[in-house]
Symmetry: C2
Subunit: 322 residues, 2 copies
């Protein structure tokens, strides 16, 4: 497959993205914990993307996509299908540019996610919870509005935007040996691959995912994209499959994809809340869970850990029986 045909972003695109999104996105802090370092035998540096205004790294890619539109394209607005952090991040970015944003969401999506999109001025068009309904509904939205489609991860502008996160991380922490992030569709990991392979090629890149949604790990082993039909995991941000642009990066630059059980996800999530005193989603927990599970891989190393998001239903925590 030709790289050109796929429109693969370059590190120059990351640098341009960083300048473009700087007024809209936070340079998030890096937290450390002596307790977690002792527990893992590694030196961990947690890059807290949960502190972005819409609560997730997704705002980087969304802002890059929205603010790189021509004025004419921008007037028609943006659209996406997502029931997660990409939806509210895109609505947030569109609101900051003052353009319309339409999100196609399954009727069954949690009300809290719908409220967040509406809170940022987004419009929600509901569909049935099936791929065919989503695609048909989305086609209608596009035909009606002419809005620019911004895919949650299989989009060069989005990948370049996510690449700004690891660029900050290597500026904030000297001498990193490795970076680890959760992998769902692979947008964040692809951004890490793009940036680190260019400016810090000695830094190893690990991805972490739930055993119950281990399609990326199986893909890496098989040498081709394996898309699960409908995986079930508490880490709901990590259910989606790789696509060709993220596979481009994952297949070339990721050292390994490690997996963990549902219980290990919940335990690592609670441990992070306790020791880092941050609110983070279940989808952020696989990196710490897999570091704890594979101490030999990380012992003695300086490891950047991307905390991807912090939008949690505070009324229902997985370790509290209500």
């Amino acid at each position: 497959m030709l790289q050109q045909a796929l429109d693969i972003p370059t590190y120059d695109d990351v640098v341009a993205a960083h300048a473009r999104i700087a007024p809209h996105v936070r340079r998030t802090p890096v937290l450390v914990s002596e307790a977690l370092n002792r527990l893992t035998g590694a030196e961990l540096f947690f890059k807290c993307e949960n502190f972005q205004e819409p609560g997730a790294f997704k705002v980087r890619g969304a802002c890059n996509a929205v603010f790189s539109l021509s004025d004419e394209a921008a007037r028609r607005g943006v659209a996406t299908h997502s029931s997660g952090n990409h939806a509210l991040s895109l609505a947030y970015a569109a609101q900051r540019r003052g353009i319309p944003c339409t999100v196609v969401m399954p009727r069954t999506a949690p009300q809290a996610k719908k409220d967040a999109v509406l809170g940022y001025g987004g419009r929600i068009v509901e569909c049935a919870p099936s791929t065919s309904s989503r695609e048909a509904t989305f086609a209608e939205v596009q035909a009606e509005t002419g809005a620019e489609f911004v895919h949650p991860y299989n989009d060069p502008r989005v990948i370049a935007g996510q690449g700004t996160c690891s660029r900050e991380l290597v500026e904030q922490v000297e001498g990193l040996d490795a970076v680890i992030a959760p992998i769902g569709g692979g947008g964040m990991i692809s951004g890490c691959c793009l940036t680190l392979s260019t400016i810090a090629p000695g830094v190893k890149i690990y991805a972490a995912e739930p055993e119950q949604a281990d399609d990326a790990a199986r893909s890496l082993k098989a040498g081709r994209i394996i898309a699960d039909d409908a995986p079930e995991t508490i880490a709901d941000g990590l259910k989606v499959p790789l696509k060709e642009r993220t596979w481009h990066f994952v297949s070339r630059y990721v050292t390994d994809i490690l997996t963990c059980s549902e219980q290990e996800i919940v335990d690592a999530m609670k441990l992070s809340w306790k020791r880092l005193r941050i609110v983070m989603e279940p989808s952020c927990a696989p990196p710490l869970a897999t570091i704890l599970k594979n101490p030999d891989v990380f012992r003695g190393r300086r490891v950047g850990v991307i905390i991807t998001g912090g939008n949690v239903d505070l009324d229902r925590l997985p370790w509290i029986k209500t």
Copy 2:
């Protein structure tokens, strides 16, 4: 009363403390939230002391006290009575210096607090949950060990240490109009008074406390320390009364002490978790609760808000019925 007799710290002591504790204490980040700014009409800057390793600003004063001891005094160790963040912060500081730390704690203190002290190598001596038992037990500990008593707040070394927090805050945020922090015994507020009255005298200082433990507000009004017997509030760090050294600062430099209800505390706590994505204690919530309650006081102002601690029992959150 002569200032000399009270051994009131000066800003030079804060500067010396800052250099002394720098290797042991974090320069914590300042977080912002557009959502909370919109809600309050103010510009809020949250100084996150919950990200200190032992989870509270108390580590500043504790480290200053421990690391300013002579080698001879240090060998005899330190001791305190506390069932809260001061106890584990002092144990943490002592562990870093490699000296003994004894904490007198009521038998009824939560196991989690005991475990935290033990986890930092501290020794716990239990007493009955009464002032007389605590004092008798503490006298025995001191007679036996010769340990240096480090009071949770009525100690010049502790107040000077806490003063380093607002020193960082004014370096991190330009043009602050006000700073607000919770008030219990007044250690953090006294540190703010000491520092801000010297280096940023235009910054107004507010304190916030629960209506159900409003002894500081009543003291300020009365012009003398009023100590409540045994106030009941979810903000358990704010139950203790002012003492003469903290009264010295509070009575001279605090513009106002604002109060809020128990429900307002829980609501502000949950709102902070949701919007800032941080884990913070009920005792941290009165500042945001009172800002929400008194919009006219803070509207249009740049306000530093000290988040004092993040040691929470994650199995029992006040907004979740279990």
